[in-house]
């Protein structure tokens, strides 16, 4: 990646706005929001609500990618944690359920971190192991069926609302705030960027790169656990076969749309979440449009390319020279 002067996320915001505008064209009621049973309803809210799991995954993924890693296992970890939560929900109290699910996610993340940081296995294969085995573990827990539950507390995490906003949205915002606090409020962010940018230099500067790697993968597992709990709470059951399936790709896509390079280094948490919203806005738009489902992927490909082209330094250069802004 060539070096550039620091940039800001205008292109991501513009892309999001453009997609929302297109959604409005294909579905005029897109921006309609109404209040019902103390809860906001509308397509825009759907974008936020449905985008929550990927946004949460991307909060973990962005740190892993900033460390020059990648985590393919998040989808499987979602399935594991959802399965644990759902199978305990009707017999245990909510704190126990959450602790078990989050603990499992953390353990999965640390396992990945162990393979990468201690055994020195390349991240993509290291996490591939859990990607394959993890779904098996989830199915082992549910024995392949959809485990349903009726605990209203757990259900609240998926379908409830706080101050009119769906709970997943509130959780995402809170988690974004927490991540920002942990990463940018401490020197961790700097250390992650330094390690991702040049691991040898960072280690020689005295940064404990191994420990940070472990912590970052652990955090990523934790985020996947939260996403998994939300996914299970949303459908009042754990679907070990399908929960989080291929979501790792969406999370990676969100991070990259958010401007973080897959070669590590500089990262942006907020823009990763914006990236997740861009993806979800596009998905919701496709659903609202009424196009036949065969066209979904083609539309998605075109939108992804368009969003990326808008970020391309080459096109920006063209644009600024056209409009005479470039000096």
């Amino acid at each position: 990646m060539p070096l550039r002067l620091p940039r800001i996320g205008t292109s991501q915001i513009v892309a999001l706005a453009a997609i929302l505008a297109i959604n409005w064209v294909v579905s005029p009621q897109f921006f309609d929001i109404r209040l019902q049973d103390g809860r906001l309803f509308g397509s825009l809210i759907d974008v936020l609500n449905r985008g929550a799991p990927v946004a949460i995954l991307s909060l973990g993924m962005v740190l892993v990618i900033a460390m020059r890693g990648i985590d393919l296992s998040v989808g499987a970890v979602m399935a594991i944690c959802g399965a644990i939560a759902a199978s305990l929900a009707d017999t245990h109290s909510l704190p126990v359920v959450l602790a078990a699910a989050l603990g499992a996610g953390l353990a999965c993340g640390l396992w990945n971190g162990f393979l990468v940081a201690v055994l020195g296995i390349q991240p993509i294969v290291a996490t591939l192991i859990l990607m394959v085995a993890g779904r098996g573990i989830a199915q082992l827990i549910t024995e392949g069926r959809i485990v349903t539950f009726s605990s209203p507390e757990l259900a609240f995490i998926g379908g409830g609302s706080v101050l009119g906003l769906p709970t997943p949205v509130v959780i995402t915002l809170a988690l974004l705030g927490l991540t920002l606090l942990i990463v940018r409020g401490s020197a961790l962010g700097l250390m992650i960027e330094a390690t991702g940018g040049n691991a040898r230099a960072a280690a020689l500067a005295g940064i404990g790169t191994r420990l940070i790697t472990l912590a970052v993968y652990g955090w990523c597992g934790l985020c996947a656990a939260i996403a998994g709990i939300i996914a299970a709470a949303d459908i009042l059951g754990a679907d070990a076969n399908n929960a989080g399936l291929w979501l790792e790709l969406d999370a990676i896509l969100a991070v990259v749309i958010g401007g973080t390079s897959l070669f590590g280094g500089r990262f942006s948490l907020v823009l990763a979440v914006v990236g997740a919203l861009i993806i979800q806005a596009m998905n919701t738009g496709i659903l609202l449009s009424g196009f036949p489902p065969e066209t979904n992927l083609v539309v998605k490909a075109v939108v992804v390319l368009a969003v990326l082209l808008a970020q391309s330094p080459r096109l920006k250069g063209l644009g600024s020279s056209l409009f005479g802004r470039g000096k």
Partner: protein
């Protein structure tokens, strides 16, 4: 070194080989080059000089099309050319060695030498033939290495020679060398000069960038000086005595002459207790076991040829490599030194030799690079506030005169010498008790060079212990209280006091049997 080696028969009046006019380049509003002209004649060695950040490397990159200039024309042998990439530059007859080694570290030495022009038969590379030719080419540089081994298994110096050999072998009409001698020692420099003389005799024009003024007077016919992106002047070597040249480069007098010898080392008072000492410390296949004591206010210099084990010694001391024999003691207590992080907490600092791969984090800003080690020592949970960071960065940018003085610029965009200064700042900011410097003045301009040496002396006077590796023996003798000479990955001699002279060190390096003094 000898005075101007004018090339017989060279006449400045001949038509220029390469002609640059009005080269300008701005980076995001920053003027790196401003209407620079330069003429290079066939058969001459032309020095391109200037302070760190003056724009030398940028001028070269603009010439070869790697960086797109804003304005300027380029004529080669009377014809306009406009290469848009390194590939086109090579095709039109300009071969270049860029400042940082720009080779493929993972390829074999032979592949690196011939990439893009390997000997082939039926489209297949003739590996044997290529290796044979590679050995031949490198033999011209007195380098006899396994050319099938990956380039990265060799030191920067070896890599640099390979890069030079590659450019020279491209049989171009113009050869550009951007600081080729920064990581070479005297012997290699001599070899390089011999090669350069051969080339100029064949009518090739050479543009040569260096910070060593001795070398300028040893080989160059003419000099062009840049200052802050502008042409500061151009003259034949004979017309420009050293002091005038320095004034032209800096735009002011050099406060302090560089050539100090043995100042302030005379007082042989009672030896202070060692801050850190190493006994029988070593690692099989890396460095033979050695004894080393590092005292406050005391500079230990490591001297030796390339690959003699100096860098390895520093890495062991800093915990970047793990000793398998011996013991390390700090402040009288035994320590494990299992990682750089541990060394950092013991009050060690380490400025590595390879700044691109082990020093800078290119995309982070100058400020972030400077505070990195200090932050690592405080731990992640005690972040330096932004104000503290700004203060520290500003202080060191001023102290070391880092240019441009913008703490928010990604460090990768700084000129090589300025990156080196920022790295020094990173460690000074931690106020270490022991500072290990591996080639600290590599690529540093004359002005800053003097400042850094002064700084080393001052740090020493303030009671810091120093371990310095330098290939410039003249430099070592100015500040070292003790010099350890290495050969073949073993400490072979220890010189102190009056023994520390350039000839003395050279003798110890060259001695076949273990020299007098302490052999490890």
């Amino acid at each position: 070194m000898s005075e101007t080696a004018a090339i017989p028969g060279l006449s400045i009046d001949t038509a220029p080989l390469l002609e640059l006019t009005g080269f300008s380049k701005s980076f995001a509003g920053f003027r790196a080059l401003d209407r620079v002209d330069l003429t290079l004649h066939a058969g001459e060695v032309h020095a391109l000089l200037g302070e760190n950040g003056a724009g030398k490397s940028t001028l070269i990159k603009c010439m070869t099309g790697v960086v797109h200039r804003d304005a300027g024309t380029l004529r080669l042998a009377g014809a306009d050319i406009a290469p848009r990439s390194a590939e086109e530059a090579v095709k039109s007859g300009i071969a270049t060695v860029y400042q940082e080694v720009n080779l493929a570290p993972n390829l074999s030495v032979a592949q690196n030498l011939f990439l893009g022009r390997q000997p082939t038969r039926f489209g297949l590379v003739r590996e044997g033939e290529m290796r044979r030719r590679a050995r031949e080419v490198l033999a011209g540089f007195d380098l006899h290495i396994d050319v099938a081994a990956p380039l990265e298994s060799y030191s920067v110096a070896v890599q640099h020679i390979v890069a030079i050999a590659r450019a020279v072998d491209q049989s171009a009409r113009v050869l550009i060398l951007d600081e080729p001698t920064a990581s070479l020692d005297a012997h290699e420099v001599e070899i390089l000069f011999a090669v350069m003389r051969k080339l100029t005799a064949r009518g090739i024009g050479i543009l040569f960038v260096t910070h060593f003024l001795d070398q300028v007077y040893a080989i160059c016919n003419r000099i062009t000086v840049l200052r802050n992106g502008r042409l500061a002047g151009s003259a034949t070597t004979a017309q420009l005595p050293r002091l005038d040249l320095v004034r032209m480069m800096l735009g002011r007098e050099l406060a302090e002459a560089t050539a100090h010898t043995g100042a302030g080392r005379a007082e042989a008072g009672p030896e202070q207790p060692a801050f850190a000492s190493f006994e029988d410390y070593g690692k099989a296949g890396y460095v033979a076991p050695f004894d080393l004591a590092l005292r406050p206010g005391h500079v230990v210099g490591l001297a030796g040829l390339l690959g003699s084990g100096r860098t390895e010694t520093t890495r062991l001391v800093f915990g970047a490599a793990h000793a398998d024999t011996g013991a390390a003691t700090v402040d009288g207590r035994k320590v494990a030194l299992a990682s750089p992080a541990e060394a950092l907490h013991l009050g060690f600092g380490y400025c590595p030799e390879e700044r691109k791969t082990e020093g800078i984090v290119a995309e982070l800003t100058v400020r972030e690079n400077i505070v990195l080690a200090l932050q690592a020592r405080r731990g992640a949970l005690k972040p330096l506030s932004r104000r503290e960071q700004d203060e520290i960065a500003a202080r060191f940018i001023r102290l070391l005169d880092i240019r441009p003085p913008d703490p928010e610029r990604p460090i990768g965009l700084l000129s090589g010498g300025n990156q080196q200064k920022a790295l020094l700042a990173r460690w000074l900011a931690t106020e270490p008790r022991l500072l290990i410097l591996d080639e600290p003045t590599r690529g540093i301009d004359v002005g800053a060079h003097a400042e850094i040496i002064a700084l080393i002396r001052r740090l020493c006077a303030e009671g810091m212990a120093l371990l310095v590796v330098s290939s410039e023996l003249e430099e070592i003798v100015t500040y070292a209280d003790e010099v350890i000479v290495l050969r073949d990955r073993a400490h072979v001699a220890r010189l102190t006091g009056e023994e520390i002279t350039v000839p003395g060190i050279l003798k110890a390096i060259a001695a076949d049997a273990p020299a007098s003094g302490q052999a490890a």
